[in-house]
């Protein structure tokens, strides 16, 4: 994952960025970096400033949240193709969970402030990227709702 062309190819292989116009992908690749993490490595911590927006290429990132007296819970894993750190694009730019690599992870990351600046300046980039971010976040929101239903619980929670 060294040169720009290969970065573009890798980006294009993810469902998040596939099919974006070549120009946009090249533009994205300009300020993206490859990133790797060892199993167990923490990528960011809940409440910290969210500095990196990333797309997972390989491996698995667990998003965890801490419940006092009950410990850490994994509420979601980010799988190849999906994004993490979207809070780097949305005020107040604070991480909403703790991210830990639970397998060796390869990702492509974008510096939050640089990406935000580019999105402000480059309308074409913003027009192409924001809907993708929205899809990724909406997909996650939907999943969260389904999880909330706790469908596999032995006793269905009845609220009526």
């Amino acid at each position: 994952m060294q040169d720009q062309a290969s970065l573009v190819a890798v980006l294009n292989s993810t469902w998040f960025a596939s099919g974006l116009e070549p120009g946009i992908q090249t533009r994205l690749a300009e300020f993206s970096r490859t990133f790797t993490a060892e199993p167990g490595q923490e990528l960011f911590r809940e409440g910290d400033e969210s500095k990196l927006f990333g797309v997972v290429i390989k491996g698995r990132v667990a998003l965890r949240t801490h419940v006092p007296e009950r410990g850490d819970f994994t509420i979601l894993t980010v799988e190849p193709g999906d994004v993490y750190g979207w809070s780097a694009l949305v005020p107040p730019y604070r991480a909403t969970s703790t991210a830990v690599a639970i397998e060796a992870v390869e990702a492509i990351t974008f510096e939050g402030p640089a990406l935000r600046a580019a999105l402000r300046e480059d309308a074409a980039l913003a027009q192409a990227l924001y809907p993708r971010v929205l899809v990724a976040v909406a997909r996650r929101l939907n999943a969260t709702r389904v999880q909330l239903l706790d469908l596999f619980a032995a006793e269905q929670v009845r609220t009526w």
């Binding site: 469902w15 199993p39 698995r60 667990a62 965890r64 410990g71 850490d72 819970f73 994994t74 509420i75 979601l76 894993t77 799988e79 193709g81 830990v100 639970i102 397998e103 997909r139 999943a143 389904v146 999880q147 239903l149 706790d150 469908l151 596999f152 619980a153 032995a154 006793e155």
Partner: protein, 664 residues
Amino acid sequence: MVISASRSPRGSRPAIEGPGFLARADLQVLFDLLREDGRRLIGPTVSDGSIIYDDITSVDQLPRGWGDEQSPGRYRLRRRGDERLFGYVVGPTAWKKWTFPALIPLTRSTHDGHKVSFEPEQATAPKLAFLGARACELAALGVQDRVLIGTEFIDPDYMVRRANVFVVAVQCTTSASTCFCTSMGTGPEVTEGFDLSLTELDAGFLVDAGTPAGRAVLERLPLRAATAAEQYGVAATVAAVRARIGDPVPTDGLHDRLLAQLDHPRWAQVAERCITCGNCTLACPTCFCTTLTQTTDLSGETALASRSWDSCFSPGFAKVAGGSFRARPRDRYRQWLTHKFATWWDQFGTSGCVGCGRCITWCPVGIDVRDELNAIAPPVPLSPESRLVEPVAATPNEFVTARVVNTKAETADTTTLTLTGVDPAFSHGSTGQFAMVALPGFPPLPISISRFLTDGIELTIRGAGPATKAMCALQVGDQVGLRGPLGNNWPLDRAVGRDLVIVTGGIGLAPLRPVLHAIVADRRRFGDVKLFYGARTPADLIYRDELERWGKRDGIDVSLTVDRAGPDWSGRVGIVTHLFDQAVWDGSNMIAFVCGPERMMQAASTTLAGRGVSASRIHVTLERHMECGIGLCGHCQMGKYFVCRDGPVFSIAQLGDTFGREGI
């Protein structure tokens, strides 16, 4: 004369019990009797190199000593070297030429200034006798009866013509390579739909009557009682014909198999050969599609509307302003084949094909429907999963017992019980079926069979309430009461040769476990098999050892996910549909089995549909309150279905918009 398919009670003939024997030399007597009755005789005769049906008056016009050779696209007469009069197989003519003529006048209309009037043609029909109708042809007459006069609206012309026909059937003592009446369940034995039947022997015929009218004629024939040897000889000959034909088109499940293949590549391949001439539909004894043509006189004041045979192969058949719905040959071939062998059942409760083989012989390019059917909707070797056994203790007041020989705690609240001493019916049950399980003092409850063993079954039960908790608490040596196996099965036969996607959650894996066992036992019959399984937490995953084996050893692509997990879980966390909502697949070759909470099944179905899996190939299993398990108590109704009897497995196409609807 035989309009209803049922055979009338026999008249009495004290002189001869059973069939009579008519010497070949006396057959003319039958001709004369029928003609005395004012009937035109239509029968087989040689003309232009084939044996056709036509007006005849004398036995001498019959194809004495002639036989035929038929194969796809080929028909030849040949000398038999004997004196047989009916030693050939069906030719190009079908009896519908007389009962449903190719062209009839329908309505005369006139235009007089501003006034218009329409005058229906009066249906008239000559009294006819059909001589030599074969078993498949009797069935074809029955099919047209069903189509044209068997529903609310009747065809008046057909009605009159049909009522005026006396049918003399001939049982087949020879067959062609194109015959497949045995597969279509129509022959070679003549069993119904005739007035008189003949079976030819070396010296004459065995004669039997099927209606009082037939008996009246039979009683005037110069018969003697048939000997036991003659009767045996006839039965053996017809049995040999049956054996020779075999079962070229296995029809078990054909309706569903065919309709599941609307996007099979073979449609395009066969269409490269098909020249859409429509010969097959014209030769077919059951095809009934017609079109109207108007002929106007020179003044333009009176017009005659005539009805003539049409064919779904003709270019204008599905035309509307702007184009045709079936513009391509492949569309028309598919229309024809799926109508004959599948949708005809939905419309008329019968197959549209009787297996006469005419469309095979008379196709100019030699397309063989049997090959097309077997290639497009391949038959499945009869395996336990495609046949359902008779349940034991079927009625709700009976139970058989079984003994617990092993218990395995799957999770904190779920236990798998191994039962033996069960009635063999259970071991022969099919994937997806369930048992009604009873303990004294508790209501009997439906529980899926989660494994079929040679001498027992397994049940995997989650202690959801009092009864299931009591079942989970059973110990080795304890007994339970059982009824079953009940319900239908996963259509595993339809998955043969396809990629299979299994989506399940929680205890929903239990009814799918036998599917996985069946696949593993015969892995090569299936394409890629993917299992997507979701549970609440890692501790709620059932069959953990097996999940690992299926993935590591048995060539099944297993993906697990849980709704939440502790830090020690390195697997996926998230909803089960996220395991495949971004997958890049060829959904057109997939079949999906889905089991879990209804809300999850809805989400999975929608996601699968979005990946290109059609509704008829997505199957779910429904859970409803069940008491009788056999469609008697009414508890499990879902729209038009009893889930216990018609399900629990349904395709999304079957359920339509009742699936997931509130309060159904």
